[in-house]
Symmetry: C2
Subunit: 408 residues, 2 copies
């Protein structure tokens, strides 16, 4: 059955490439659909949705937008408009895949638009900036990105013709044979959060949860991982969170690190959704950075542990630990579902253990005291005399999680 695949881009400069992509989609028996997100200029090719319509759906008249607003605001508006166009098409069942191409600006607009579509929906982006930091574009989404190798300058050339042909073929492949996220019926789905530093605990917990009939989805506490988890909670895919490694909350509160959540508001989604959550303090005692040069100057006199030459762990101060505890309490107090905190008294990670390089009982105590002061009675806090990675701790965490989940 033939499908609808959207080709999205700035048609003033990339009209020829977009027309070529549409042509290849149609040769494969599907329907290509052109959305023009160029704020300026016109194209030799006719779009299915013109840029004026994209601006209009974002609440602007295009001519006024480009006259009165900053370049950044214009881009955001076109991205927002395009995301609404895509979402409307999706809701009406009129789109099965989306592909885009762009330079700096086009990539920003296209990725913003694509973020409106659900996980598992086929999305692909050919970009001149896809050899570098793509987090600003991808965030926590499954947007495939490929480096364009050559620039989109002066129309199609032998290199871009090949890269674009492959990209179009990839989307067609996904549309024809891909799959969205589907849950097995009758099975409960637990989310769990991990870092290398808590991996041993996570592995044991996953095994135990499976024994209890859960299917388990692990998320790397990398800023993108926790954010993806929270999005999936919102979308209804998760029945409970064993938050073994809420590390990203620390980076969010301190405001620095490589793993600041893409979506702010860590540990709020489960509370809003009313599903059970057990918070286990994993890796809340340090911040993650890249190589030594990437550590902000103001933090260079702290305890620093180089996990390897490319990854530095920087200790969080007592004052900051207190602040993290405060924010954690505030957020968990708002939870509509059951929430519990389980504190491993002998350290919250490998490095934070008694013999670890980031051991700091005073800091941990500061966080816990701040928590205790503010936590409402409905959120239970419990202590286990073990390190987070010890079976004693893990088993108790799973036990509490199962108890909350059964009650829920």
């Amino acid at each position: 059955m033939s499908k609808y695949i959207v080709v999205l881009g700035t048609m003033d400069t990339k009209g020829e490439e977009m027309a070529y992509m549409k042509e290849r989609i149609e040769k494969a028996g599907h329907n290509g659909f052109l959305i023009d997100v160029a704020p300026l200029g016109s194209s030799l090719y006719t779009p299915d949705v013109p840029n004026t319509e994209v601006a209009r759906i974002a609440g602007y008249k295009l001519s006024e937008l480009i006259q009165s607003e900053s370049r950044e605001k214009i881009m955001q508006t076109m991205g927002m408009g395009a995301s609404r166009v895509l979402l409307n098409m999706f809701k009406e069942g009129n789109i099965q895949g989306v592909i885009s191409l762009g330079g700096n600006q086009g990539t920003a607009i296209a990725s913003l638009a694509m973020q409106a579509l659900p996980f598992g929906f086929p999305k692909y982006l050919v970009s001149t900036v896809a050899s570098g930091n793509i987090r600003p574009y991808v965030g926590y989404r499954d947007i495939g990105m490929v480096f364009s190798v050559a620039d989109f300058l002066g129309g199609l050339n032998p290199v871009t013709r090949s890269i674009l042909a492959n990209a179009v073929a990839a989307v067609i492949g996904m549309v024809e044979r891909g799959e969205g996220i589907s849950l097995e019926k009758g099975q409960k789905t637990a989310a769990i959060t991990a870092l290398g530093n808590t991996q041993k605990a996570v592995s044991r917990a996953i095994e135990k949860l499976k024994e209890h009939g859960f299917q388990v989805i692990g998320f790397h506490a990398s800023g993108a991982g926790g954010s993806a988890m929270e999005e999936l909670i919102e979308e209804g895919f998760i029945s409970g969170v064993l938050d073994l490694t809420p590390h990203e909350l620390a980076e969010e509160v301190v405001g620095e690190g490589a793993y600041v959540p893409v979506r702010s508001g860590r540990i709020t989604a489960a509370g809003k959704a009313g599903i059970p959550q057990v918070i286990c303090m994993g890796a809340l005692e340090y911040l993650c950075f890249g190589p030594r040069e990437s550590i902000p100057e103001r933090m260079r006199n702290r305890k620093i542990y180089m996990h390897n030459p490319f990854n530095a762990n920087v200790k969080i101060t007592k004052e900051e630990m207190k602040e993290i505890g405060t924010v954690m309490a505030e957020r968990l107090n708002e939870a509509k579902g059951p929430a519990a905190i389980l504190v491993p008294e002998k350290g919250w990670s490998i490095y934070g253990a008694e013999d670890g390089p980031l051991y700091d009982p005073g800091g941990n105590r500061a966080l816990v005291d701040a928590l205790r002061e503010r936590l409402k009675e409905k959120v239970k806090i419990e202590f286990v005399d073990a390190n987070i990675n010890e079976p004693l701790f893990v088993d108790r965490a799973v036990e509490i999680f199962i108890k909350l989940s059964t009650r829920a």
Copy 2:
């Protein structure tokens, strides 16, 4: 006709995922082929190429490798071995696509392996680290990358099942309907280098070159772009280089900036291949950085121009300019083909023009003097009394390029 698609990964921890991917490839009527690159551990699933063989082809006995070498060296060796396995399969026509999945380590090994395969060959990588800086993995290659959303922990789950199904479908799509790079017969192919700051010159040059019967491939001087150009020169796709924006040479020589070439040795490939090249000095007077914080401390007292809040241009000192000129002369002196330098006397970019924020006639002169002192007679240097973006300059550059190309 059924094709061969390689699934590459560390089977000790990702065997279940890899077996699932192979199964989906075979359901679509193709042949899945498992390569195990795990330095340690064993899998429940049997690979087609075991890790011992991957190590062996890289010149190591696996058991000795893991005992005697560092983690980094082990990873590099497994990546190198896998790249040789892929390349051998490619040469024998036994592989039409490759897909991989990985965390930090698996992504490093897989991307190293995939880099052996030519541009336009279907390659896709599902990674837990594909929301961040992917340049270390992708380099200047067309390796599609997608964020795994969830971690590969404890086997398949509803999220990874969907993300992997889509990725497999994407590679199948590329294998069935993609296209490699193909040149139109009898047409000469010019490469040209660009930055926003020289774009006007580049656009005019492309037009002129097309009038002269060239097909033109533009490369963004972003570190990855120039490196991709040089790789394509080596592979025989390019008949001449109008190097309007050799900017990356400056970053390579100074050793800092966001656009240091991925492959070092900028402006050497054309010389080695014996194809004509015209070097036009574009944007050699500044370095590119990200936001202001990303500028190294030692450079913060220089002339800095914020192109926008996310992009800083930092002036290169006179001493460094001299060094760039010296390196340029040394490299061009080695050229086997015709080479010429054309200097725009009124500035090498928009920002470097007389009324621009990075105007520095003394610096430019230092570079040019160093060049003149060292250049062998066979490399002509010529001056045009115009800014690089003026038609007067561009037309002369094209004229010289055509002359060298016709003679060649």
